[in-house]
Amino acid sequence: GADSRVSTGTYIANRVSDKVSGLHDKIFMCRSGSAADTQAISDYVRHYLSTHALEVGKPPLVKTAAALAKRICYTNKEQLLAGVIIAGYDEADGGSVYVIPLGGTCLPVPFAIGGSGSTYIYGHVDNQYKAGMSLAECKKFVTEAVTRAMARDGSSGGIIRLVNISADGVDREYLTV
């Protein structure tokens, strides 16, 4: 999930943007930091993944997408301002989440938060997260976390975009307020 505010300085360039980019059918990337940098990264990873998927003949693994993004973020760490979260579903590992903060480290995690608004919700998510939540509970967890971050962070706002990925498929939705 992500908020939808894109600002250039104090002007909100787009109040309904989509910060959850698709990398492949069931692999998505939440983008934060410089929009230009993260869009460039997601374009490269999408391109590499589509070629890779054709070569192996199967949907790519989430950890492959994460490794590709990490390689780009780490080798160009001086030039990039990008914090991303790669998440998705594959047959081998089921649902997985990888977080790649500034600097280019790649960490497999049960849940992740990122962006300027994330600083306000570390306590909240640590308190609310439980292992083994259902899809509905996960949606509620993500929605509440983003809502609370939007309430306190000036650079976050608009609508909440959610992408729910599972073995059955992908469901994109948005929630207002």
């Binding site: 894109v6 360039a13 787009n14 109040r15 309904v16 943007s17 869009q39």
Partner: protein, 203 residues
Amino acid sequence: DASARSSMRLLRGVALAAAAARTAATTLAAARFSGGVALGADSRATQDGVVADAFCDKLHKLADNCWAGGCGAAADADEVARLVALDLRSRRLGEHACDAAAPRAANCRVAEAAGLVTARLRSAPLGCGFLLGGVDSRGACLLRVEPDGASTNSAYASMGSGQMAAVATLEASRLGPDASRSRAIDAVRRAVEAGVRGDTGSG
């Protein structure tokens, strides 16, 4: 008056050589409707507070179905638009090299045009941004492309120094997803007017 406009363009050509004429002082506004995008712009190009060209054309045709409004450094915006339009045309000619459709192939996919613009902006430190709008088989699409190459998709947008005045009008016009062509054009016209009235750099 044609001769006045052509002499203004000569003036602009000379002025650009001497110092950077900018359309950063600009109002661009655009709104998507079912079946297309309405794109509007003011016509003032300034050079450090002096109007270099009062009737410049900031709307650039990239293909028959895709136009871009440019703001920022006028030279950069004009050149990027010109080169992207040429790239798109030469791709169409290449695709139809062996048949008679080549002369009439003047459309593009909006994502293709956006990709070409973004590639140029990412690779060089150019000081221009665009509101890029077009219609293709996937529908109408409006993209706001920042000078650093970031692009963002929305139903309506404004750009330039008059963007705040323009977006206030666009928000107030309450264009929904089923906006009609005439409502979108009217909203964009009023948005550019708001920019012209409320911003010193637009006129």
